[in-house]
């Protein structure tokens, strides 16, 4: 029997979680949102600890301490590692759901309390939980590149996967018919663990962000299922919020990449890379950081288009230095943010925020595109696909139809990357060989550093003279 106090805590917690996400909608209220979330979680835990069934706290205390010890360092990872961290935390979430489900099954099995309804809920919870667990671990591995990121495919792969999933579901049905048949439960657990792995194997490393968002919503759904198992509405609400968020984010990513879910899940997209990268490169004009600095110093309006490369190179602070230099000269500087620039939604925003660039200077794709023709210089920093004109022009291109930032429409383009290698989509980019484009090859961090230095030198030179 759950006490009233506990119920009140749960109700308050659910309400706070909703406010937490509402407040996250705008930067100036966002931190209040985190606070609300923390309070809500605290209430939920306190309320739970009041449960009369709880006979001993030693294991709980131990686990809480251990969790805190592991959690704190996990929150200190560099921002480039955020996708991996997210994947790991989904894995943990899935694990928790799977374990609670299994525990409940074993307990109710012993007590002969397994109603059909409970069994269904448990099966769903365990399936989703363990699939999320191994799936997210694989995703994290590919993002961290400890596992080969290229998609591993073989004939009839999807058939095999569906067969696996089908069997798991069938076992579930069997279990509902006869809940006492515990070997079936074991089969379900192992099948979901295996399926989680096989699901990710054929997906290219660069598709992982979309995948982890999907896994995010699975994790949410498994929490919902747990709510049904424990007849706890707080779990249902929180799980639903999480599920919705994961789903919406993955939809946004797919849209912005102009691809379908199934294409992401079964498209083995990363492969294209291998092939297309073969296309011979067209002649390009290249320039030195000094040249770049001169062009920038002479401009009235400058726009930066940051991409994954800036993240890899951790070049955002150099970008900031250039921003300051230009600002000192009264040059107007904006940042064009593509919804899927980088490797996770909002990736560029966090990085630039980290470099303390005011968020009013960050302009979304749809707003900046009309202004592009008025831009004197467009600096492309480690962005590739999101500025690839092929998306507008070349029907045959795999990214055709993907909305892009019209960098090519700026009066002149300075593009920084290390080589002519393609980006995530693995295709050539006509922007680099365009007449109004100058390539500034090299690692973003060093190249932009040089540009900033050149600008500073020039300014101080002026000041001295």
């Amino acid at each position: 029997m759950v006490t009233v106090v506990t119920q009140v805590c749960y109700l308050a917690a659910a309400t706070l979680f909703i406010f937490s996400l509402r407040w996250l909608s705008r930067p100036n209220t966002a931190r209040r949102g985190v606070f609300a979330g923390v309070v809500g979680m605290a209430l939920a835990i306190v309320g739970t600890l009041l449960h009369p069934e709880i006979v001993g706290f030693q294991w709980i205390a131990l686990a809480v301490i251990a969790g805190t010890v592991v959690g704190i360092p996990l929150s200190r990872v560099p921002l480039t590692a955020v996708p991996q961290r997210t994947a790991i935390s989904h894995a943990f979430g899935g694990l928790a759901a799977g374990l609670v489900g299994s525990a409940k099954y074993s307990i109710w099995l012993g007590e002969g309390e397994l109603t059909a309804f409970r069994t269904i809920a448990i099966v769903v919870e365990v399936l989703l939980g363990f699939i999320t667990f191994t799936g997210s671990l694989m995703a994290a591995g590919k993002l961290q590149e400890v596992i080969p990121t290229r998609p591993i495919t073989y004939r009839g792969q999807n058939a095999v996967n569906f067969a696996l999933l089908g069997t798991a579901v069938l076992c579930g049905v069997g279990l509902v018919v006869n809940p006492a048949n515990w070997p079936l439960f074991g089969v379900i657990v192992s099948l979901s663990l295996v399926f989680g792995v096989l699901l990710i194997i054929p997906i290219g490393g660069a598709d992982m962000p979309t995948v982890i968002s999907l896994l995010n919503s699975y994790a949410g759904l498994s929490a919902v299922a747990m709510g049904f198992v424990l007849e706890n509405e707080l779990l249902i609400v929180a799980g639903a919020l999480d599920g919705a968020s994961g789903f919406i984010l993955s939809v946004i990513m797919c849209r912005a990449m102009n691809r379908s879910f199934s294409n992401v899940l079964f498209g083995a997209f990363g492969q294209v890379q291998a092939q297309a990268a073969g296309g011979e490169a067209k002649p390009v004009k290249s320039a030195t950081p000094q040249d770049a600095a001169d062009y920038l110093g002479a401009a009235q309006r400058v726009v930066f288009v940051p991409g994954y490369g800036m993240a890899v190179a951790q070049a955002q602070h150099r970008v900031r230095e250039i921003y300051d230099e230009l600002h000192k000269r009264g040059i107007e500087v904006k940042f064009a943010i593509h919804p899927v620039a980088g490797r996770m939604p909002g990736h560029m925003n966090v990085l630039l925020a980290e470099a303390e660039i005011p968020y009013e200077a960050l302009v979304e794709m749809d707003e900046i595109n009309p202004e592009m023709p008025q831009m004197d210089v467009c600096v492309v920093v480690g962005a590739n696909d999101v500025v690839n004109p092929a998306a507008r022009t070349d029907k045959s291109s795999p990214i055709y139809g993907m909305p892009i930032i019209d960098a090519d429409k700026a009066r002149m383009v300075l593009a920084n990357k290390r080589s002519m290698n393609p980006g995530f989509a693995g295709i050539d980019n006509a922007l680099y060989s365009a007449d109004n484009t100058l390539m500034v090859f090299g690692d973003a961090k060093s190249v932009l550093g040089d540009i900033a230095a050149a600008l500073r030198a020039e300014r101080e030179g002026k000041a001295a003279a």
Partner: protein
């Protein structure tokens, strides 16, 4: 549990689904990365179930599983909230 306690839960699921979609769609693109980590932390609400299992200590097995689950959830709670706040601290208005 009769199948009728089920319906209040279905109501909650249906309503929370609507709330979720509406709330998330209002989150500015600017904050999608913090959004991911915040929802991580919130979905670690699985801690509720884990604590009960680890605490009621029905069997060695269940207690062990519960404890691991608590560990996993707490990790998410701690790291999720901390990293979200860390990221949000970075977002500054012009002139601030």
């Amino acid at each position: 549990m009769t199948e009728l306690n089920l319906f209040p839960m279905l109501f909650a699921l249906m309503l929370a689904g609507f709330v979720g979609f509406q709330v998330i769609q209002n989150v500015s693109r600017l904050l999608h990365t913090p959004l991911m980590s915040l929802t991580n932390a919130i979905s670690a609400i699985a801690v509720v179930g884990s604590i009960i299992i680890a605490g009621e200590q029905k069997t060695e097995v269940s207690t062990a599983l519960g404890a691991i689950a608590v560990f996993a959830s707490v990790t998410n709670i701690v790291s999720g909230f901390l990293i979200t706040d860390r990221m949000l601290k970075m977002f500054k208005e012009r002139g601030k």
